[in-house]
């Protein structure tokens, strides 16, 4: 008998009876406050930053103004050019010197201030962790209410890797002192930019 | 109304004033109180150590002593909880089941059965910290526990609020366990004592002159801790305040 068979047989023999029913999960609608307001408050509370560029300001330039010292800027979204090209074939370890990574979030969650990213948004998953700073573009229309809403998104079933990112990397493991930039990004900035109608032409 | 009075062993032996106050209070409220003379213990000492075998004798004796009462009242939350929820080292005869379901802790009885509206003879012009024992709080649910998200309620506070002159102070950790825990106080003495010290220091820092509780076992432990470190704070059972003790 394989270990698999042994374990399954042991489980089958031990399972409690009768089987209690699986409950229905309500959506637990949130407050009537605007979702963007909830999102912003939650994001700031989790240590994230929130930015809106002044109207008409070129997003590339605005981003560089946020990180004037940055040498290597790597964008996973065609909307932003950056200083280094990124493709799905890039070796993750090559991103070790990236100062600023840029992605467009698929959606945000107002309850927690989270943004959703998958390999489609990241190109290289490790970008969101090896970069020193991460900027996530977010269309305010892409914000859902709470996690129950979020988990109904069908992309959870198709993405190979999906992450709800909430603020920067953090730890309080030493005497409860809060540190940002534990292992991953030192800062996360959500930048409100509506989704482009069509991809921006590359230069 | 006729009530069987159960006085736990440690109150019988060390704090008879609490038993006396309980009896007098019930009589003042028009209750006919009978104290079966051959009672000893509810069995929780042995049962809480896992020794069901050793608990059976005391539990059987308890049932025998109280089988003829429709209401059994005790000034001890831990004993009432043990009888209602755990008195199962003995066969669950109809007699045993009846005794179990008819047993009340004093505050429960005053609040839910007698529904006492006033204690005109009572006055307690002191600053008081209310200690809800874990048995009354989380097992018998006589007050809201801080962990549970639900509307506030407190049966002991309802009763004590009817006492003239009483002032309440609130410690920083109102419902953290004080560390008595039965034989825990002996076999895990270091942690037990630390918890006791923390508890009395907390009430003292909040300005309490007295700590009041429905469980004398907790108070016995807290008193022991306070006296050892010379902390100026006194201990009183809720029955004594409601019965009109002034100090």
């Amino acid at each position: 008998m394989t270990s698999r068979d042994t374990i399954l047989a042991a489980v089958r023999a031990s399972q409690p009876t009768p089987v209690p029913p699986l409950p229905e999960i309500p959506l637990f609608e949130m407050s009537s406050r605007p979702l963007l307001e909830e999102f912003r408050e939650a994001l700031l509370r989790m240590g994230g930053k929130f930015a809106e560029r002044p109207n008409g300001d070129d997003p590339d330039r605005f981003i560089r103004s946020l990180f004037p010292q940055a040498q290597v800027i790597c964008s996973a979204t065609p909307e932003i050019i950056g200083t280094r090209a990124l493709s799905g074939e890039s070796d993750p370890a090559d991103l070790a010197d990236v100062d600023v990574g840029i992605v467009r979030a698929a959606f945000g969650v107002a309850e927690t201030g989270s943004i959703w990213l998958s390999e489609a948004e990241l190109q290289v998953n490790a970008l969101a962790y090896l970069a020193q700073h991460l900027i996530a573009l977010l269309d305010p229309g892409d914000i859902v209410g709470n996690l129950h809403h979020a988990y109904r998104d069908s992309r959870f079933k198709t993405a190979r890797y999906a992450v709800l990112v909430t603020g920067p990397s953090a730890t309080a493991d030493i005497e409860g002192v809060l540190i940002h930039g534990a292992q991953g990004v030192r800062s996360l900035t959500v930048l409100l930019v509506p989704r482009p109608a069509k991809p921006r032409a590359t230069v | 109304m006729r009530v069987g009075l159960f006085i736990p062993c440690y109150i019988d032996a060390f704090f008879p004033a609490v038993g006396i106050a309980t009896l007098e209070l019930l009589e003042r409220l028009g209750v006919d109180v009978i104290y079966p003379l051959d009672q000893t213990c509810c069995g929780q000492l042995m049962a809480n150590s896992g020794s069901q075998k050793d608990a059976a004798g005391a539990e059987a004796l308890f049932v025998e002593n109280f089988k003829d009462f429709d209401h059994i009242v005790t000034p001890s939350g831990s004993c009432a909880y043990h009888v209602r929820d755990h008195l199962d080292a003995i066969p669950q005869t109809p007699k045993a089941q009846k005794v179990r379901s008819n047993t009340y802790e004093l505050v429960e009885f005053l609040h839910d059965v007698l529904r006492v509206e006033a204690f005109p003879w009572a006055e307690f012009p002191h600053k008081v910290g209310l200690h809800n024992s874990c048995s009354t709080l989380r097992k018998l649910r006589t007050a809201k526990a801080s962990e549970i998200d639900e509307p506030f309620f407190s049966k002991p506070l309802d009763l004590l609020s009817k006492v003239r002159g009483i002032q309440f102070v609130t410690p920083s950790r109102p419902d953290e366990c004080c560390g008595f825990g039965g034989t825990f106080s002996i076999f895990e003495e270091p942690v037990s004592a630390k918890m006791g010290y923390d508890k009395v220091a907390d009430h003292h820092a909040a300005g309490a002159e007295y700590i009041v509780s429905a469980d004398m076992s907790c108070l016995m432990h807290q008193k022991g801790c306070a006296e050892r470190v010379g902390l100026d704070i006194r201990f009183i059972h809720i029955a004594q305040i409601l019965n009109g003790d002034r100090a």
Binding site: P23, A162 | A13, K194
Partner: protein, 458 residues
């Protein structure tokens, strides 16, 4: 096998005053933060009920859900392995690593790998294992197990961490600035992420419907471990299964709020399939879980989502520290799980509790922890695992309290003893009560004698 003496270890912990007081304050603060979060969600108690119901249903049909999970995972091109026990788990992991010639493994926090004692096993076979979670790394470098399942080094102060880092990873001696220490760990761990050939994680939840599993961290170290090296191994206890993606809404809303009082962890990562050119191995582990599932009084412990809320609220845990339990799992959840690993070694643990039930009230999946602690005491007494002194004490007490005349004689003797014996005879090593407390005074008469005098009817 020697019995763990929790009381003695606790005594030493309490004696280290600054450490103990910080430990207690820090964890109580997490408990208060949890309360604040709970109050902010009107449906909090309903979420707890739903989570409990989902788990109870799933555990009752666990074999079906395990098979569903495996089928979906394989369709996703993940490899699925099954380990009956810790030894088999370690062997499977080793074989995967050696097949890919892995010399360096980076891993995120996993209580299951602690339970299996995996690290020494791999290290003896020349595989370097780097703990990447800051708290776990501190403990690894100090050659000490983690003390708390969520904040592994909560029992240490910054000075302790500074000493460990100076001794092991070249930190500046005497520099105990927390930001400096964290940055030092970040700087020295990065190179491992970049050169490791494999990364290992645990899992908080495994979803049967999709064959995915979820890992929650605040540091993002699980994501680094899984997304930089090509090979990702995930060790998952069989009890972690939940039926559908939508159920994650309930559990993710409860997990971090219960653990740390924050609405969600900084990273909630969902792994369904390997990335292009990558490899994903899932190891499903039993190690006593199927046996526990068959225990009528104790199977509810399998609902546990490893949040640590029970530890944070436990007044005994906060004053004794996780290491005093001498087991991978400490605190209230440890007390009800550990006896299944070794009933003799852990026979004292169910008595390291006042049965105050605060743990039960904070548990997001409504495990009846205090009731299981009570039941374990019965089993330990039945299996003759009570220490001799306690066993005798209960035997004698049982006899005396079953007989009204013996009882009255004992009370009267105790009263006389307190009244007449000198202090040194009462307060000595035979009387643990008296070590740090005064004993009650002897009253003039017992309640019973008062009653006979004043109230007895003829």
């Amino acid at each position: 096998m020697k019995r763990i003496d929790h009381a003695e270890a606790a005594s030493e912990f309490i004696a280290a005053k600054a450490h103990q007081e910080f430990h207690d304050r820090r964890l109580w603060d997490l408990r208060l933060k949890r309360d604040r979060e709970a109050r902010g969600i009107p449906e909090w108690e309903e979420l707890r009920t739903l989570a409990s119901q989902i788990k109870e249903h799933t555990l009752s049909r666990l074999s079906d859900y395990l098979e569903e999970f495996e089928a979906r995972a394989k369709e996703n091109s993940a490899h699925v392995h099954w380990a009956r026990d810790a030894a088999e788990h370690n062997q499977i992991v080793y074989e995967i690593l050696s097949m890919r010639r892995v010399k360096t493994l980076v891993k995120s926090k996993s209580m299951l790998t602690e339970e299996c004692d995996m690290r020494p096993f791999l290290e003896r076979r020349d595989i370097e294992v780097i703990e990447t979670d800051l708290g776990e790394r501190i403990q690894q470098l100090d050659d000490e197990p983690p003390s708390h399942i969520v904040v592994p080094a909560v029992h240490k102060l910054r000075g302790d961490v500074s000493t460990v880092f100076a001794r092991t990873i070249g930190a500046e001696p005497g520099n105990d600035d927390v930001h400096y220490l964290a940055e030092t760990q970040r700087r020295t761990t990065r190179p491992y992420f970049l050169r490791a050939e494999a990364g290992m994680t645990g899992a908080n939840f495994a979803v049967a419907e999709t064959g995915s599993f979820v890992v929650c961290t605040n540091e993002g170290n699980a994501d680094l471990s899984a997304n930089v090296p090509k090979l990702h191994i995930a060790s998952i206890g069989i009890e972690k299964i939940i039926p559908r993606t939508e159920h994650l809404g309930v559990f993710i809303r409860l997990l971090s709020r219960s653990a740390l009082g924050s609405p969600i962890t900084q990273y909630t990562s969902h792994f369904r399939a390997p990335r292009d050119g990558g490899e994903l191995h899932i190891v499903l582990v039993d190690n006593g879980r199927s046996e526990r599932l068959g225990m009528r009084d104790f199977w509810y412990s399998l609902k546990c989502i490893r949040c640590g809320a029970c530890m944070n609220t436990c007044p005994v845990y906060r004053r004794s520290g996780g290491l005093s339990y001498g087991a991978t799992y400490s605190g209230p959840i440890g007390i009800i799980i550990d006896p299944t690993f070794n009933i003799r070694k852990y026979s004292n643990l169910p008595f390291a509790s006042t049965l105050n039930a605060s743990c039960t009230n904070v548990c997001p999946v409504k495990i009846n922890i205090h009731e299981q602690i009570y039941k374990w005491r019965q089993i330990i007494a039945e299996r003759n695992q009570l220490p001799f002194v306690k066993k005798e004490m209960m035997r004698v007490a049982g006899k005396v309290l079953a007989d009204p005349r013996l009882y009255r004689a004992a009370i009267s003797a105790a009263g006389l003893a307190i009244e007449h014996l000198p202090r040194f005879a009462i307060y000595n090593w035979l009387n643990p009560w008296g070590r740090q407390r005064e004993i009650p005074e002897a009253p003039g008469q017992t309640f019973r004698s008062w009653y006979i005098e004043r109230r007895s009817r003829p």
